[in-house]
Subunit: 251 residues, 8 copies
């Protein structure tokens, strides 16, 4: 932002533009800059970062339009989340789409080679939590992370989780995904020594209240290093995990 402003000012000082022209240029700049500033960090500096399209509530035509526009502007990877198989089929005729059915995610372009501090573990309590987990895992992978999947390691069968103690304790970030009582986040949070992102899911019935119980439970975890995202928000967890796993690039 500073460079652009400085250029305008130098142009003015040196008489290449008038005060009126400088006013006009500057007037639109701050907020555009503000926007670009963030965009830059996302796309400019960390070259090759994917763009994300939230597919729910958009028609196949709309998704196609946005995706093509992004690709035309040099974006190398596009991730489409909440994309049902019907729309995915409609898209494959015109786009080279890599559709991950379990994750309900479509990928256009190449997935970057894994980088970052370490591996992201995506753990679920049950098999019904897998769609949310896959959304998280694919999101993390598309953002350049190595992902380890530990599915169906819920606390009512503790030995299943403990048999994966090595993966848990050597993870860089863990995404703990559970519906019903959501106890997985607390148990993993107590075992692991890394940030744990808890994702409540709407899995369960009766007093599960479509994820509310798991959500409240996870917020009450007394294990250090646990934070929570919205119910079924696999994308948010995968994105944040990738961000934390690339913290060294901030230095």
């Amino acid at each position: 932002m500073e460079n652009e402003t400085r250029n305008i000012l130098c142009d003015l000082r040196d008489g290449r533009i008038s005060v009126d022209e400088a006013v006009l240029k500057l007037k639109k700049q701050p907020f555009e800059d503000l926007g670009y500033a963030k965009v830059d960090l996302h796309r400019g500096i960390r070259q090759g970062m994917p763009e994300v399209i939230y597919g729910a509530g958009k028609t196949a035509e709309q998704i196609e339009g946005i995706a093509k526009s992004l690709l035309d502007n040099g974006v190398e990877t596009v991730l489409i989340t909440r994309l049902d198989s019907e729309k995915a089929n409609a898209l494959t005729s015109s786009l080279s789409l890599d559709y991950r059915e379990k994750a309900k995610c479509g990928i256009i372009g190449k997935i970057p080679a894994p980088s970052g501090i370490g591996r992201i573990v995506v753990a679920t309590a049950g098999t019904s939590d897998i769609p949310v987990a896959e959304e998280a895992a694919v999101t993390a992978e598309v953002h350049g992370n190595e992902v380890v999947r530990l599915y169906d390691v819920g606390v009512s069968g503790l030995h299943r989780m403990l048999s994966h103690l090595d993966e848990i304790m050597s993870a860089s970030v863990i995404i703990a995904i559970a519906g019903m009582e959501g106890a997985l986040a607390s148990v993993i949070g107590g075992l692991a020594d890394c940030p744990v992102i808890a994702v409540p899911t709407s899995v369960g019935y009766g007093a599960a209240f479509e994820g509310l119980t798991a959500l409240l439970s996870m917020l009450n975890s007394c294990a250090g290093g646990v934070s929570v995202v919205n119910i079924d928000n696999g994308f948010g967890a995968g994105y944040l995990a990738g961000m934390i796993n690339h913290m060294e690039t901030k230095k």
Copy 2:
């Protein structure tokens, strides 16, 4: 019930009472009998069972009056729950009261020797849950059960719980007490092979919502054999655990 009815009818047949008197006696009988039936099971058949006084909302004088009346009628043991230390002090001048401060329970008379199928384990997630646990433990002890206390074995420090695996896996009944996210019940329920009574506590802050989160969490446990009582209801859990631990007497 049949005997009493038969006596009335014989009295009528033999002219000792009139039809009017018989009608009156029979009219009130079914429900009175119903009442006595239960009382008998509680006090008559299982001799030596304690009577319980819920101390909250009663004055020391009222408690003293009820207790003396019970003792005068042959009750050998009286348990007073939710008894604060101030009232306990007031009672000790006139009654031989064994006051358990942590449990907020007072005991009059002797505690029966432990009997039953096995041992009842009372486990808590944290130290703040101990008052509820002690209410459960003392209730179970007063009803003739051996109690093993495992306090502060919450799931965020899983090794603490697992170091007591022997007690957990050999228990007859387990009372799992936890506030906050209440994950203890699920983890213990997954490990143990006996009935687990989960007691949510009002311990915690914020999204703990005074026990609601732990309650909902415990109800969603997918471990087999887990059931739940009201928030902070240590007495109810101790009483039920004792009942289950004496199931062999039902045979």
Copy 3:
């Protein structure tokens, strides 16, 4: 667990295996053992115990695969819960399935002869609660319990319940199932002298809030010996009731 460990150690002491081999064998053992420990109690010691498949969210093919695998491994009885009639039909071509439509349960293999301390009474407030009740009853039967069904004995017609006083008062365990206001649990809990497992159901409308009212109501029962499971969780109640009814085997 101890035996297996001891064998490895003896092999080491006697030079049949090296320290490296012993390390490898022991490394994977504890948590597997932990798992088997529980499995043993369930299946090993109490021979003939059924395996349970939760049918909801699984395809007929998946259920068939799991069931066949269990049967191939020597399991004698398989219980499939939450199995709709369509999937049941699909299964009957390849499996010898005993389908209980009301309970939405399928049974493969023989139902063990009733054993245990006494009889389990399954009581419902209304006729709409029967599907949950049947899930509980079939679960208990498949786990070797004698079940007495008392349906439509809700408290707004108290005489219907009281005409079954004998069954209620001689039960070993009672499962009280009700939607709407859930008062059945309190009334039965006040009459009976055995553990009462309350199951709220999602029956009702308006302020029934899909079982929440019955759930809260049941948790507030002041009758001794009452505990609660999740809304519509007939399986959980039947499983726990069977566990309590076989407490004598713990001795």
Copy 4:
């Protein structure tokens, strides 16, 4: 209302007032009349009906002022609800106050002789519900009803309630008061053949949620003839019960 209008119109027709004066008089009349219409029914027609002062949030001086003003205007009986003993003491120096401590009600003037169709039964589940019950009972008595008190007849000791079957089945109106799970209303509603007014109370702890559970439970009663008032609203129940018990005066 018609008479007053007619007088104005006659005055106009006969030239005693001008059209402008008639307009002014009529303009303010309808809503004033509306008000008086109701006041008349309450106080005019049914002579001797008590006035009620809601004592909570008013100082002793304010209450004294209102009461004196009412008495000066010919009101024979004044009922002051939610009046704590401190304020009651302050009032007794200047007013001839009959203070009912349990009900937290003060009465000035004479209580009318009981009239109405029959007797109003006020039943409570426990002893902690008695303050609400007394507010209901005193309200009904002050409005000229005979009241029968049945306290501590909760459903967890069904025999206690059933031993009062005569009172319940011969009542004109029943007020069923309960906290916790509120099952009393359903059971009484199923037994009785008269209107049942259910009053949830804030008695209980944990999942009683200060009366919410009892409220929801009572609203779900499937017994015919049950309706519900606000939590702890003894006055409202007593007032409505009295109104129903005097329905014959509507004929």
Copy 5:
């Protein structure tokens, strides 16, 4: 109940039956009697009272079976509530059914001539509340009450309600039906001098929360004489209103 008992006792006293036979006869009697006692009040004493079948969740065949059985046993009028038009069509081939589509009610047999203290006013806030209102109105009519319908008189158009002031103020009982904010009950309760039964409906969107807002609002009415039934419970309101409107028969 007394007569039947007395007959048995006289038979015993006079030697017509033995003590054993008397025991047997009495043994089954109390609870049946308890049931009949209520049934008598409903059907015996007040001859011609209709029987009600709750149609929701029952097949046309089940409804037909129950209805025929009732008619065979001398019941003159049968009311079927929550009966959709499809089932109604199926029923009309075999039963002489008077189907009221708006009320979703079917009537078999004759509707008794209106009796009772006065007229029952059924008022709704909007046109969407009419189905609930019709269920209430038809229920009241079938139970022998004259019903006045005041629809769409919600408080946001106060003049519409006030133009019916005469009906409101001369009613015997008023049923006030409203969704959304439910203010109708308070306004009518403040105007009328008779019992007001408030019925919240699930009409509305957003913060109406399917009737919860109207329910809470109605429970908070500070107008005297207002009580509340469950959301959309037109039947309950109509039944209770009819009961109150026939209070004089209790004398």
Copy 6:
């Protein structure tokens, strides 16, 4: 109201009607007048104001009937809200309907030229909020307001909103529409110096709880001048905004 009353009185004074006739005429007048009073302000004084038909739950035939009746009575503009495209198609055969699909609104007659104090800004956080926004915008336009649409300016992309600072700060009234966390209202409320009407929408998933979170969030805005309407209530916001934007006509 006064004129009509005065006419009646003059008729009486001058002998054209009797006192009885005057009583009758006056009896029904006040509340009808009350109604017309408001109607007058809406339609009489502010000539050309549109009538609104709430289309949800009405058939195309019913809507057509009401619309024609209004037009026959001289109404120049009719707005039909919550009108789905199917009904709109059915209506266009018989009415000259201007259907706005995004808004689900149909307009009959001409839209008045914009008047009022200034411009109404309708801002949404996301694209999914647009249907609610269009309902608000069309409502405001039909009531004679100039509307500026700022869509998809949610706070997670602050620069998008800030690039429209001019529109925001020069608005007469702002309608801030957002689902999910509803932060838009607070941010706009902090920037703008005019009344802000916040409309929560049911957009979002999980802990959005169908608009409840946005609703609560908006009610807590500490920015001055913000008030809130019901979830998804675009019409209410547009109507109120138009009312405020025409405040000068009140002077």
Copy 7:
């Protein structure tokens, strides 16, 4: 904003400042300008507008410090809300404070003469709502509005409200304040033809849920022109009402 930017640029062009100095000045400008822009509108343009200090959670010393600083900077009127009498007493020694006890508001400086489009009516349902009403009224008065107070005009005594029909129908803005069922807003919204700001209060007990019921009720009002602020937020309502009442100054 443009002028300031232009000055900097001219300074640069003319060599009075360097490019570095210009960059620094411009960098902080947009957002500072943004801030000043609003401050200007509040204080600069509309000269004499009062400053508001939220007194809750601040000590008397802190309030004194802020107030003195404001007065030193030329502010003519300071409004302190949520100021209890104890702090008010502490302040009066050093400040010339006009303390309004009912409103819990303190005013320093002169109250501007009433201006604006018309009068603001502040109406309450009961006497307990008066503190919130006074906060609203004093806030509006301090911001230069004429306020009419209509207290205790709740809908359960409709005649009281209707006797003030003139004030209601001639108001510029109405603030409708009510706890319990909050019906006042709907009724007034239906009568009045101006913006109605509804303020739910925490007055009530039981199912009033500390204002939640009134809040939900008010949000569901189907009367046009009604919007809602937070529970007990008298200040917010008074501030917004004043803003609307001065809309003509926006032209």
Copy 8:
């Protein structure tokens, strides 16, 4: 773990211990090891990490005892959270306590020099949120992080936040703390390109529902990289932020 096991096995192979002794040693090992594993990571490997004592619910004596025990065992820094000033005073006589009153935190020992990837920004919406913020800030500082405090930058005064854009956009991790509507998290999440930990606070009144509204709002943030901890959980946020800020040590 392997080393310890290997030692036991070597001891066995070499005859230094018997098989029985080896069994005993191995039996308790896995879970003890499990515990130590985590302890090591926390304290062993990352030398100098502070120990934390949760002060709420502990007496000054208990805190002193624990602290001394830790210090005696070589811990260099002890952080005591939720420590009120009274207890802090009691502790200072025996311990060299650095008490931070705003944070309600006590520190014993030296605070490590800041390390990690970058700076942690702690931002609050209002001044009432500062105690939670200070708990977060002190926790982060004690764990070796540089902290930048940005207090009172709530979104209703957007310019205040934007004037700190540099700090926000260059942060390593941001902790966004807000009560009421919690919009701060969304706005910061939209601006920043780093993980944002949102902390809802119980600040506010009415519909703030003691932090629930802020909590739900924050969970719905659509900005990438935002996660949430429990209401008022400053410690949890500070601890997690520190963990993320030291991610490079995981490599």
